[in-house]
Amino acid sequence: MTSIEHAASLLEEAPPAENTGERASWLQVAPMVAVLALFFGLPMLVVLVVSFFDFSRTDIIPAFIFDNYVDLFTREVTLRLYASSIKFALIVWAITLLLGFNIAYFLVFHVRGLLFQIGLFLLCTVPFLTSNIIRMISWIPFLGRNGIFNQALQGAGVTSQPLEFLLFSDFAVVVAYVHLFTLFMVVPIFNSMARIDKSLLEAARDAGAGRFRTVFEIVLPLSRTGIALGSIFVITLVMGDSFVVRTMSGGQSASVVSALQNEVAALQYPPAAASAVIMVIIVTLMVAGILRLVDVRKELAR
């Protein structure tokens, strides 16, 4: 149908508004669908296909075998890697949520004046002016055996020996993750909270609710879209990471992705592809779970 015919048909019969609306929205999403299909769908399909291939030292051999998956599911190390990645994801999620919620709450409800609010909000983003890598690596001299923190502790007489667990440990990994990812929690929660009608809070206070009751019964439920979005960011970032875990644990811990990278470096593409497919499925399930708890689309259209 050409556009003229289309326009004519619109004039003639004034079709149900729903129909045009639907067509328009299909058109609107088309560019995004095209981009995703080309740059996400297609590569993902290739990964899926390769995950069933056989391989030798240098070649991937077209085949249809399940060896890579069987291998993945029968090895104890797979479980251990996922347990480790999920452990980090949960710890970091809990800490960033606590921090993110409180920072957003402070910015929205305690800071008076829009200008000041936006100013402080921008201040939160200042660390993003440097690269992730620099922000992470700067923890190493700080937390090290002879690092600033240990020297300060010893200087103040708090400890007599350097604390070894501070660097190249799970602790160091969590510190770096929290530092890197808290803002991803702050921003969406801030956004949700800013849309809460202040008169609701006044009504709650008038009705005799204390501060905590207001937070738990009004603010928290109304911020859940932001919490859900922030959680998706943080969890997918941690699950997909290899660099932070490798650097901050000093190579002592591995993540699913860092093991996958070792395979890629050794030219073992099919098992790496199988590992990637399983990873995508698991992370997708996690995101689906979050979206099931909170209908982000409905809330955003509010």
Binding site: T58, N146, R246
Partner: protein, 426 residues
């Protein structure tokens, strides 16, 4: 004092330039120089070998353009196999050959095309040390990696033939790096087994790279008398299992502080005192020392872990471009490059040419293991060692003549990667 030294150095460089000029006339016929000036060769290799200054000098001496690309190992393998046309001269280390030989991406080199073969150290031409003794064949020894059976480059031969896999360029002997001030002196660590000594619990590190990391531990286990490997460079599954089991126990007991994956990480671990003994590359030791922190590349009684790299022309080269590639590879070992990298601690496959580009004092320090008669500087003129220091391990054949095992790719490398992943995640 400093000024005089710099002047001497400049004088040396000028003399070197003069030699290069005469050689360019006598050694390299430039009959086709007019056609060659539009040729560009892409030289790709690790950052320790693919150095821009070398390309600049080569372009100047040869009259055609060399483009240097420093890339990481896995990128190099990937490009060599999947986009071989993007590389002309592949600067590979020996452990890439088992992946690339017979894949139709590298071209074999007829010995006759390489003019310096006769002057090349016998380690590469015959597999022996200058004193005639055969070098260790544990791991991938030079004699096993230098030759193809035939011109087609399908199969590696383990004896000299007329077809080279690559022009050998630089090589060195690796060992453990230590912090003498934190272990109680340079003489406190004498054996690979000290890497596993409970004394250094929580203060040791390995490179996060399975083929080298496991081999370093294997050297230590053998030195400690746990068991004897048939070939540390080609372990059986059982040997890998036994080794990794001990490694996992050590790791769980907190023996290792870290596993480093970049050069800088290894430098920082040592410089900050997080680690006092670890697997390390020679220039990393120098980098720690240049911060004024004592670091020592300790000679161990069981010997060194050896490695070597070379230049291989890619199979897609032909005609004038191939001629230029041969010309470039001949230039590469004609001295300038050898002199340049000697000052980073690497040896040239043709030391006699490198010697012309070093001052006698530099030669004595780097190659002969004599105490430095003057301050020793790196290729860029930065002070490396003060007058009076001696190179760790001594002269070239005290170090290179004592190789226990060569860097390698094991037949069971798939299994090794898998077990390494288990080790790191345990």
């Amino acid at each position: 004092m400093k000024r005089i030294n710099r002047r001497l150095l400049l004088k040396g460089a000028a003399a070197g330039g003069a030699i290069a000029a005469t050689e360019a006339i006598t050694g390299f016929p430039t009959v086709w120089a007019q056609n060659a000036k539009d040729i560009t060769l892409v030289h790709a290799g690790g950052s320790y070998a693919a150095i821009k200054e070398i390309a600049d000098q080569a372009s100047k001496d040869l009259g055609f353009k060399i483009v240097m690309q420093a890339i990481t190992d896995d990128v190099q393998l990937n490009r060599s196999l999947t986009q071989p046309n993007t590389i002309d001269i592949n600067n590979i280390d020996s452990t890439k050959l088992p992946y690339l030989a017979g894949k139709g991406v590298l071209a074999s080199i007829p010995v006759a095309k390489y003019k310096l073969w006769g002057e090349t150290v016998p380690l590469f031409t015959k597999g022996s040390y200058p004193n005639g003794q055969m070098a260790s064949t544990q791991g991938l020894a030079p004699i096993e990696a230098m030759f193809y059976e035939a011109a087609d480059g399908k199969k590696l031969a383990s004896k000299p033939t007329d077809f080279l896999t690559m022009i050998p360029t630089i090589y060195n002997a690796d060992t453990l790096g230590i912090r003498p001030d934190l272990v109680g002196g340079r003489d406190k660590i004498t054996s690979w087994k000290d890497l596993l000594d409970p004394k250094y619990k929580g203060k040791t590190a390995l490179v996060d790279y399975a083929p080298v990391g496991v081999m370093d531990v294997a050297m230590a286990l053998e030195a400690r008398g746990d068991f004897k490997y048939k070939d540390k460079g080609n372990m059986t599954k059982e040997e890998i299992d036994k080794t990794v089991k001990i490694m996992i126990d050590l790791k769980k007991g907190g023996h290792f502080r870290s596993f480093w994956s970049t050069f800088d990480q290894s430098v920082n671990l040592m410089a900050s005192g997080e680690v006092v003994v670890q697997s390390m590359w020679s220039p990393a030791v120098t980098a720690v020392r240049s911060r004024g922190i004592d670091c020592y590349y300790v000679p161990l009684k069981e010997g060194y872990r050896g490695w070597f790299v070379g230049l291989a022309p890619m199979a897609h080269l032909s005609g004038l471009k191939l001629d230029c590639a041969y010309e470039y590879m001949n230039w590469f070992n004609s001295g300038w490059q050898g002199g340049f990298i000697a000052k980073q601690g690497y040896y040239s496959a043709v030391p006699s040419t490198a010697k012309k580009f070093l001052t006698p004092e530099e030669w004595d320090y780097w190659y002969d293991g004599k105490p430095a008669a003057v301050d020793i500087k790196d290729p860029y003129g930065t002070l490396m060692e003060k007058k009076g220091t001696t190179r760790d391990g001594g002269a070239i054949w005290d170090r290179m003549g004592n190789i226990a095992c060569w860097n390698t790719v094991m037949d069971e490398d798939r299994y090794l990667t898998r077990r390494w992943n288990e080790f790191i995640s345990s």
